[in-house]
Amino acid sequence: MAVTTDWQKSAYIAAQAADARVNVELETEGMTLNLGPQHPATHGTLRIVVRLDGEQVVWAEPICGYMHRGYEKLCEVRTYPQVTTLINRIDWLGHFANEVPFILAAEQLMGIEAPPRAQWIRTIFFEMARIANVSLFLGDMGIQLGAITPVFYAFRDREYVLNLMEAATGGRFHPNFDRIGGLKEDLPRGWVDECHGVMTRVISFCQEMEDLLMGNEIFQTRTRGIGVIPAAVGLEYGLSGANIRASGVDWDLRRDQDSPLAWKHCDWKVWTHPDGDSYARYWVRLQETREAARIIVQLLDGLPSGPIQAKVPRIIKVPPGEAWCHTENPLGEMGFYLVSKGGRGPFRVKIRSASFNNISIVPWLLRGVYVPDVITILASLYFILGDIDR
């Protein structure tokens, strides 16, 4: 493992010591502890079986599937417009962001492209979904560490974002707003001004979180050097998004691929952190929320006028072919591998959701840590159960 920073070094030494203890000490009867599926720390129904030596984890295994809904199968018996209803519910906090890669994949196969205004509004909603998703993480991380106040601030300010979503799409949780070739509707009147105000709130919320939680010594003691993921290991497990950027990998699909969405028109920055620990993951996500607000403000200022829907056939049939489209979703890389046979519904949809890969590193990551750190690490990896179980 490449040791680059002091925090990594200390974590590495601690892990070595833990390994040595686990291996050398006399064989005692370990205790198997079930975290979940009904446990306050696992938002959703993830179950983690940990084998403990004292309070130290010897072995851990996440067990998922309690919420498996078989979306890949269900997608095969629906039409393309109906599929968006399903995929809204994969990462239910990043609702709109789920729709985009699927719609883009279908648009690719059909060879159509949405008009610029639609792309800009898509990008705005995409980033709002990011704020709605990640701001909850910013508060939730606090509650997993025992600080109960941040989560209420997160819910308070997230509410403004959701209200905006509701005003434009009619849905707070499942907007179902993206259409092949454009959007369902244009923005309502006065929405842009309202959104400016909300983004100011979001930025001040980030500052609040930084003051209340990130600057706290206890928070730093609990997260620094805890759950260190070296970049190479993280990539091998397919970690993406803020999780891998916190390990120092400078990779953001919003910037690194040629996307029809409007990120390329904005001035923003991809944040990385060299440490790869829980603190770094929190830090990167906090910066990303700020950047998302910045992106939205810039997009609102330069919103082009024009239609929001391209000409598409009334009955949508996607030409045969295969397309892979992935975007940088709030939780990480989300991709759809779409196989069409020319029908009205997809032949096969492979949903590559971020949390499934992000959480698959858990058995590797949890060896040798203490029970309280299990919670910290899981919270900092940030998964949504719907995104794991699909």
């Binding site: 998922c64 599937g65 498996h68 078989g70 890949e72 199968k73 269900l74 095969e76 018996v77 629906r78 039409t79 417009p81 109906q82 883009l104 690719q108 060879g111 179902n176 259409r179 070739g181 369902k184 290991v233 990539l235 091998e236 497990y237 397919g238 993406s240 990998v249 990779w251 040629d258 996307s259 029809p260 829907q309 391209a310 000409k311 056939p313 009334r314 009955i315 949508i316 030409p319 045969p320 072919g321 295969e322 397309a323 892979w324 489209c325 992935h326 991709g335 591998y337 196989v339 046979k341 020319g342 029908g343 009205r344 519904g345 096969r348 492979k350 890969n357 698959s360 590797w364 179980d389």
Partner: protein, 251 residues
């Protein structure tokens, strides 16, 4: 952004062929890079590379089963594909009851399949996709290079009667869960996988849900009511219509 758009009139199963104008001027250079990658793979794996495709800003490579793990190693070590994206399977059998087209016919409301998995209806045809294919089942995976910002899709045929395949876990640790998922959803056996156990389904689950001949029971009990919406209007050809209306009706 990978961009693939094939002409609708082209036969299914062939290479998806002509590519829409790639966005961004750097696309030809990227395609040259992809060609170099493909050359490396051909050099290392020889005739085990049985199909390939570079189109629309993306690339597909299909190999024989024996070269599956070697392919991953070459990709990791020589092409610097450090990021494991996903691995999954695909069943190319067209099952009229499952493909959806059948149930969309007006009279086809309650399509009931004959028998279940053991007594599957005769496949109406197996038409494989990009990169070709010789068998009903394929496993496909995607790798990406974070440094080179380039990815590729890898495919391998899986024998229907003997669905065995080398595991990738020793090459990419992240393949663990994906292979478990593919194992339970398709019934492919990954040799060398440390513990092939159920990941989503309960332990006593029988059958492989993502195979095309696995019945989706809720569809058999009741036809999908939402399908009524996409029926063409009487005396109307599916085609150039006002887009918003189409989207609205579909939603």
């Amino acid at each position: 952004m990978t961009r693939l758009s094939s002409a609708p009139e082209e036969p299914v199963g062939g290479p998806t062929g002509e590519v829409a104008a790639p966005a961004g001027g750097a696309q030809p250079e990227r395609d040259r890079l992809r060609q170099q990658m493909l050359d490396v793979l051909r050099r290392r794996l020889g005739d085990a590379v049985v199909g390939s495709e570079i189109a629309g800003g993306d690339m597909w490579v299909r190999v024989e089963r024996r070269a599956w793990r070697r392919l991953a190693e070459v990709c990791r070590d020589e092409l610097h594909m450090d990021y494991f994206c996903f691995l999954s399977g695909i069943d190319w059998m067209v099952n009229p009851a499952m493909s959806g087209e059948k149930v969309w016919e007006p009279e086809g409301g309650g399509v009931v399949m004959e028998g279940d998995e053991g007594d599957a209806p005769a496949p109406t045809g197996i038409q494989t996709g990009v990169g070709g294919g010789d068998s009903r089942f394929q496993v496909f995976a995607r790798l990406y290079s974070v440094t080179g910002k380039i990815g590729l899709t890898l495919k391998v045929d899986v024998d229907e009667s003997d669905p065995r395949l080398d595991s990738w876990v020793s090459v990419y640790r992240g393949a663990d869960w994906h292979e478990r998922e593919t194992w339970e959803m398709y019934g492919f056996d990954f040799e060398g996988h440390p513990r092939l156990r159920h990941i989503y389904l309960p332990g006593e689950f029988e059958g492989h849900p993502l195979r095309k001949d696995f019945p989706l029971l809720s569809r058999e009990v009741k036809p999908w009511p939402g399908l009524v919406d996409v029926e063409p209007m009487p005396g109307e050809e599916a085609g150039a219509e006002d887009a918003t209306a189409g989207a609205g009706a579909a939603g």
